[in-house]
Assembly symmetry: C2
């Protein structure tokens, strides 16, 4: 791996282990979940997914994530992890893989993903787009994601440039918007460019949109997160929009759209999460 | 397996094989992809997914699919298939599994899914719903999905009660709506109730919404399909709505909402597919 001066690269760094499982066709990597990317001690789900996806990227020859689905099996905390990747199909257009992350002998994450090459696709225009980036005021007019949520330390907020739309940020002071929407800018605090790997983090880095609805507030554990990457982001901050549309039966969805600074859609996401218990 | 007088049950029937892979914790099933559920000889993707999901259902003790992601690796045709299921985590709330379908020695489908119990959840009201079923005229006023698309035999149309919204059905006569939308009713032609397993079929049974856009028409191979099941459907036809919002870089999305006859959201879906080549 290349050394990097950026925090996100250090936090997703992996050592490839010798072909311990050559008979199974699995690649194995050792990594470390770093402190500082967590919320109250639990590592952010997008960050954890990015670590697993980086192992897939290394396995597939530096391709881009195209569509990535993660099922979260247990909370992940700071400390060593073991990531094993199985190549399901190494195709010309797409490499399909599964990934498994184990921490302290327990599987915490299972991933199914296809990787490919988006850079060539970037030159073509969109043939159809029914949607547009969220209308945000200037970054300086957008409140930062608070580093405290009640008495919970949102450490990841310090790693990111997260500017929330003023209409959606009031929940941080106790004023919910009563719309299940969370919009804002995304970037890294240390200026690291947002590449396709970082889109996986961005898809889960905002406060849950459900915080703006009149339901019990608390930890919102993600069961499953799927991110479809639609283009390589241009330099600059992303404009992101997340919406929880349906809260029923103890579950909620959150759908995201991530747009780059040129107004191009770069990713769509949807997650299914558990409603916090009252 | 129970004998059933319904086509969909026969088409998804499986024989559990003896614990051939007891050492790996995998369950193995033999199934058969039946003719009549195909489009031009390729089995419908929702049908193929339902076969794999039924093996997961058998493995998990008849639980409901909660969130299911399939990556399509190769076309599936009529004939025998082998389905193997690995239990990733057997939890109290959710059973997480992977599934692999192999046909003629080639893996055609890989699935990652979590199953659970939705029937208890059905009693609770929705706490928040931003959305409503599509406004459809009566079923009799909705044109059926045509059993021919150009010169391609859409055999699956004969298995289903698919009534398309008149504003979205004109493509069948060469008049595209220029909106990437496909709405209509879904049920089985033989009156089989639509259960949570059938929602996986319903999520991929309509003509592609992109057929209503001005892009080259042809086979739209699904790369990845994710279905989140949100409730057990009440008896009666589903009202469904699908939209392709972004066509760029050679890929397109299609997002679905499936509602039951009481106006309750029963599933959300999204797929990433390849744009047909001109």
């Amino acid at each position: 791996m290349q050394p990097s001066r950026f925090e996100f690269d250090a936090a997703t760094a992996l050592s490839r282990l010798a072909d311990a499982d050559a008979s199974t066709g699995r690649s194995r990597f050792a990594g470390e979940i770093l402190p500082g990317w967590d919320i109250g001690g639990n590592a952010n789900g997008g960050y954890v997914l990015a670590v697993a996806a980086r192992a897939m990227q290394e396995t597939s020859g530096r391709r881009d994530p195209i569509t990535v689905t993660a099922h979260y099996l247990a909370p992940t905390v700071a400390g060593p992890v073991d990531v094993s990747i199985e190549v399901v199909k190494a195709g010309k257009r797409l490499s399909t893989m599964t990934g498994s992350m184990v921490q302290q002998g327990r599987e915490v994450l299972r991933v199914l993903a296809s990787f490919g090459d988006l850079s060539a696709a970037d030159d073509g225009p969109a043939l159809h787009a029914n949607g547009a980036p969220p209308d945000l005021p200037s970054f300086s007019a957008c409140p930062a994601r608070a580093a405290l949520n009640g008495d919970v330390d949102v450490a990841i907020a310090d790693r990111l440039e997260l500017g929330l739309h003023p209409d959606d940020a009031g929940f941080q002071g106790g004023q919910k918007s009563d719309r299940g929407v969370m919009r804002g800018y995304f970037g890294f605090a240390d200026g690291r460019p947002v590449d396709t790997l970082a889109l996986l983090l961005a898809a889960d880095a905002f406060p849950p949109a459900v915080f703006n609805l009149d339901v019990p507030r608390g930890w919102v554990p993600t069961i499953e997160l799927t991110v479809q990457v639609r283009a390589v982001p241009a330099p600059g901050l992303l404009r992101c929009s997340f919406e929880t549309r349906f809260v029923q039966g103890g579950y909620l969805d959150e759908e995201g759209e991530l747009w780059d600074s040129t107004g191009r859609l770069v990713a769509q996401s949807r997650q299914l999460a558990l409603l916090a218990r009252a």
